[in-house]
């Protein structure tokens, strides 16, 4: 994973930490598990479906990258980054899922990593003067949720989509498991 001086790294999940450290740590653990299940396969395997569902690993990667930017870059920072800003989601509300079939695995992984980096930076900037109690900067709702609600929603969003990835991934190459094996955790 690329890191630089101004992009905060992942947060370790504490066993007896504060609220914010626990939420951010839980989110980062979910990101790690999600990436382990979704990436590392050639393009045609990332585009495979299982049963009647249209879910693919490529679609999951792009969808979750969109959700990252929507919640953090837009929700906390007030700006929706590219490539999303120019997309006509009215014409295709599931553009993230559909267009993922045209992206290479490298593009998808780069897109997701960039979104996560932007999210961490937006969170750090927001927390410099805010807290879990602070209302987010932008919301589609008339009443803005607080940061706490957003972070808990994100943990749930990641866990649910990782559950989708669990079954799809197992059907592709047999990879199973709850979390990363210890030897891969350092990366």
């Amino acid at each position: 994973m690329t890191t630089s001086a101004d992009v905060p790294g992942p947060v370790e999940l504490p066993v007896a930490g504060s609220e914010i450290d626990t939420l951010l740590g839980a989110l980062d653990r979910n990101r790690r598990t999600f990436a382990w299940k979704v990436f590392g396969l050639p393009a045609e395997e990332m585009r495979r479906t299982l049963g009647p569902s249209t879910v693919t690993l490529a679609g999951l990667a792009k969808h979750v990258a969109l959700v990252e930017d929507y919640y953090f870059s837009l929700g906390l920072g007030g700006v929706m980054p590219q490539p999303w800003r120019d997309v006509d989601f009215d014409a295709d509300p599931d553009w993230d899922w559909h267009s993922a079939a045209d992206d290479s695995p490298e593009e998808l992984e780069r897109l997701w990593n960039a979104a996560v980096g932007r999210s961490r930076a937006a969170t750090a900037a927001f927390l410099a003067s805010g807290s879990a109690d602070s209302p987010v900067t932008w919301s589609e709702r008339s009443e803005k949720p607080n940061l706490r609600r957003m972070l808990v929603d994100m943990v749930e969003e990641y866990a649910r989509h990782t559950g989708h990835a669990d079954l799809v991934r197992e059907s592709i190459d047999g990879l199973v498991g709850e979390g990363l094996p210890p030897e891969e955790q350092a990366s």
């Binding site: 066993v15 299982l50 049963g51 209302p135 808990v152 649910r160 197992e170």
Partner: protein, 188 residues
């Protein structure tokens, strides 16, 4: 009570949000598993051995385990004494194939009711940052918020698996139940 009692608050306090997220997942998971015959509960998808019946039984043990062993150190409820539960996760998944739908739903619903009460009592006694019993067992501090976060993650993951299993059984899809949906009388 509203039509969507599973919706968490928009800007509440920490405990309301963590319990609210857990509660929404309970509703959603129960909806994904609801109203099926033995065949539907035992259906598999691809090479995975997961089933909706197995998930019902597994989450029932996880609810009870967190609410007893982890939170307070009290023994697992008597329902697990004589049904063969051995503490091994695989048991829930394999043994569920021999259980009736009525038994599986009752096991899950009973565990949720007990768990709701146990968490309420724990939080009443000192809040979410309080050390849980299992901290003494593992020899390091563990607070209630970490146990709740782990439970939310576990539920979210299994609900995602349930999404794909249920869609394959009868085409039911969606993020949350329809407003007004109820799993069983008195479940709330």
């Amino acid at each position: 009570v509203t039509d969507t009692p599973w919706e968490p608050p928009l800007s509440g306090e920490e405990v309301e949000h963590l319990l609210g997220a857990l509660e929404r997942l309970r509703w959603t998971f129960r909806w994904k598993a609801d109203g099926l015959s033995s065949d539907g509960l035992a259906a598999r998808l691809g090479p995975s051995t997961l089933t909706l019946g197995g998930l019902l039984k597994h989450l029932a043990t996880q609810e009870d385990y967190a609410a007893t062993h982890k939170l307070t150190g009290s023994p697992m409820p008597s329902v697990w004494d004589d049904n063969g539960w051995d503490g091994d996760n695989d048991w829930e998944f394999t043994s569920a194939a021999d259980d009736s739908p009525e038994l599986l739903y009752a096991l899950y619903d009973g565990a949720v009711a007990r768990s709701r009460a146990a968490w309420a009592a724990f939080l009443d006694e000192g809040g979410i940052g309080r050390q849980v019993h299992v901290a003494d067992v593992v020899g390091e501090p563990v607070n209630g918020r970490r146990v709740l976060c782990d439970l939310i993650e576990e539920y979210g993951r299994h609900t995602g698996q349930a999404d794909l299993l249920r869609e394959a059984v009868d085409g039911r899809v969606g993020e949350d139940p329809e407003p007004g949906w109820r799993p069983a009388p008195g479940w709330l």
